[in-house]
Symmetry: C2
Subunit: 357 residues, 2 copies
């Protein structure tokens, strides 16, 4: 088993990564709870809910299954889950388990953060991508005007990561999750980066997956420990994300996975970084790996003016100036303000390179 | 000016109490904000909104006025305020000012706690009662199934208390606020208690009010500093509240103010405490003061079985056993579990005493 400890301003918690630990949630509880409330979705429930329940037979456990997909990160589902919690007589000594991907983790985490002013919750991620969102305590729902606009910083009391659950993921979700792992490598660790870029996604063993998740989570946890509330270095985790958010918004959520968009965003950030700092930063190696692993780079054939407008509206933008995370070298990220003209030039040359493939 | 400093797990803040400081909010801001968003209600706005705006002329200020009353502490108004904040382009460097009583403070505080994962807010209380809710960082909205069931612990960055605003309060609101001051005296300080019980409510000067608020806030702040998240001694602040919540629920909210119900609850807690500990605990003195000041004690003529059932459902109850804050002596509160039969007996004798007046 791989384990990592994370210190937060309120408490410490442990991230455990192994095969088949979903049957033994009981072993990871550090106190007695009056009720355990499992929140999951209709894709995950048929596969893993019984396994979780199996390991909690001595407890008072209730559960609810909501539809899968981003649409449930809404004020309506948020309130409905509060109602279900009250109807099931949860109190301040109860626990919520978020069983699922990033949507379930964000939503159930925000319910836990605000139920009777906050109760304990555990993340049980079932996708590769949610290695990222399950660590760090960002919980949120969407507002009609944008993603994750309503939320909290509220760390879980444990993250229990069963790599077995990842075997059922579709290919685009594997690409999505691995893009965030590659991101973590780029901003921290050249060895880890080389390992990942040498790895075809079609042939990953559970042993390798454990190692990769462990390394990725270590990067994420190390950064959020130092900057829990995104005052400074936590911004580095947005490497590739400024353009990614604009791509997702332009294409409409659902046509490309988050990580696939981040992959294109990283490639662009490397394009800018290599030109700005005059240094080889694995642009070509990443491009080859993305192409070999069928990342949908051709989807970047979109209108650049729209993209630029969206980048200026990003949550991290200040006075509508675009902030990008760039790399001075592998493991040395920096946040730079890019004016609109320069941005447009970089985007045009990047698009030309991509569509010429 | 009276000032108090409160330390919390995330930051320190200052409570300032004086006359006419509502014109100078600017002086209490410790940093530059991109936008200041004032949330107030339609009773307070005509009286004091312009005064607040006057002192913020150099800033980008927006405001919204919602109906007064408990009904706005709802999920619908909560979401609507998030929308107004987004439409007015608030960002992570913006400030919310809660201008009003406890409802506005709780609601606007919860919006601040969860807007883009939390922004700064200032409490500008305009009632005596809200000296209590504006300090300590409890923010919340109501759920159909109960009050304050959805919320956070999220301290303000400042509390600015202009005693002038209290001159416009109706008599029942003055009684309501002073009952909480009397509560704070009972659980902490016999001198303060004697001062209050010697004071007719019809003849309070602003100077006296400042002193009383200062003493009350000092008790509250001292307790929440030691127990921010209600793990132990913060429970003492519920002196009088277990019965009060049951009275409010039985009569229907609106027929009696919160503090007036707390007054009856305290009297009952003293009735139980005097019998249990065989000691004089100002029961008679409090009864006289409440009668002289027209507290609506006759409203306690309600069904005792209903009251007992409601007390068993209290948020602080465990396994449906009633927990009451009692006094061993003035300034020495304790939390005791009371079984149902004993509770019924105490309630009957208390009701007999009250209705015999």
């Amino acid at each position: 088993m791989e384990q990592l400890h994370v210190a937060t301003s309120t408490h410490d918690y442990t991230i455990s990564i192994d095969e088949n630990i979903r049957f033994n949630i009981q072993d990871y509880l550090t106190k007695k709870y009056t009720t355990i409330f499992i929140i999951t979705d209709d894709q995950v429930a048929p596969l893993y809910l019984d396994d979780i329940l199996y390991g909690l037979q001595d407890q008072r456990v209730v559960h609810t299954v909501i539809p899968s997909g981003e649409a449930t990160k809404s004020i309506e589902y948020y309130y409905q889950l509060q109602t279900v919690a009250l109807e099931n007589r949860l109190d301040r000594q109860s626990l919520i388990i978020a069983l699922g991907g990033g949507v379930i983790g964000d939503l159930a985490g925000f319910v836990a953060a605000t139920f009777m002013r906050g109760i304990d919750y555990i993340q049980v991620p079932t996708t590769i991508l949610s290695h990222d969102s399950s660590v760090g305590g960002k919980v949120a729902i969407n507002h009609e005007q944008g993603k994750n606009l309503i939320g909290n910083f509220y760390p879980p009391v444990a993250v229990i990561y069963d790599v077995h659950t990842i075997q059922t993921l579709p290919e685009n979700e594997i690409r999505s999750g691995y893009a965030e792992l590659v991101k973590e490598a780029f901003i921290s660790n050249e060895d880890f980066l080389q390992q990942l870029l040498a790895q075809p996604l079609s042939a990953i063993s559970n042993e390798q997956l454990k190692k990769h998740l462990y390394e990725g989570v270590k990067v994420k946890a190390g950064i959020v420990e130092k900057d829990e509330k995104e005052a400074n270095i936590r911004k580095y985790l947005n490497f590739g994300h400024t353009l990614a958010h604009a791509i997702e918004a332009t294409l409409g959520y659902g046509r490309i996975t988050h990580g696939e968009a981040v992959a294109i965003g990283m490639l662009f950030a490397l394009h800018v970084s290599e030109q700005k700092y005059g240094r080889d930063l694995y642009y070509n190696e990443l491009l080859t790996w993305l192409t070999d692993n069928h990342y949908p780079l051709s989807l970047f054939n979109i209108d650049m003016d729209t993209v630029i407008q969206l980048m200026k509206l990003d949550k991290k933008a200040t006075n509508q100036e675009v902030q990008m995370v760039l790399l001075q070298q592998i493991g040395k990220p920096t946040v730079e303000t890019i004016d609109e003209t320069t941005l447009a030039t970089y985007l045009q040359t990047f698009k030309k390179e991509l569509t010429a493939i």
